[in-house]
């Protein structure tokens, strides 16, 4: 299981700013290891963020997203104390979900 995401969500003037830092290698599949063998691609494919059951952002990624991906977005309608749920799935089928509380 991958390390937890760090999720910071801050509500201001009715808009919630969400910042997510995921822990993932994001291997491109083009890099060679010390013995000259290609390192297989391993990267996050899908990201979904939701607030009270409503999807507030989806992302579909390839291997060109940087290692330990950072994602920032904003949505309307969140209140202080609400939770934002973020889920990712990588190309090997590994998944991870974490929640952040809106401040």
């Amino acid at each position: 299981m991958a390390d937890p995401m760090r999720i910071r969500a801050v509500a201001r003037d009715g808009v919630v700013n969400v910042r997510v830092l995921m822990s993932h290698e994001m291997e491109t599949g083009q890099r060679k290891d010390a013995s000259g063998k290609l390192v297989p691609a391993h990267f996050i494919r899908n990201v979904t963020a939701s607030h009270q059951g409503k999807t507030v952002l989806t992302a579909l990624w390839g291997p060109a997203v940087a290692k330990n991906p950072y994602l920032e977005f904003e949505f309307k309608g969140g209140q202080k104390g609400d939770k934002v749920l973020v889920t990712w799935e990588d190309n090997k089928g590994e998944k991870r979900s974490d929640e952040g509380v809106i401040n």
Binding site: V56, A59, G62, V65, P69, F73
Partner: protein
Amino acid sequence: MNHSRRKAIQSGGGLIAVLLAAGIISPGAALAQSDPFTIKSLAEAMRAVGGQNLTPSDAIIIKAPAIAENGAVVPVAVESKLPGTESITLFVEKNPTPLVGSFGIPSGTVGSVSTRVKMGQTSDVYALVKADGRFYVAKKEIKITLGGCGG
């Protein structure tokens, strides 16, 4: 001996094909039949995500450094002021596969996303925005002093 080696190679190839097929995931169904992340030309990759009849737009702002020292981690933010923004898709023209990622913006979400991308070399970065069923595009050049691919 040769025979078994050949078999092993064949089965390996088959496995890769299956993995590639499995790589085409459900939200991608809206994108295209073949995996747009494997396309090597910018124009084709844009077409694969539905980007046709592109209108250049000043209402799309790409915020990124003009010069990035480390191509492995280039911060890029895209802000779309177009009403009815449905998705934002990022491309790095000179990467081996230009499509970086696509962000779906449901109603109620602000048309603005930030992330960090890898860039192999100095290149134009394109933001393709779908708004109200139409496609708009903006670009910005980012100079790289140290490549982020291979290494």
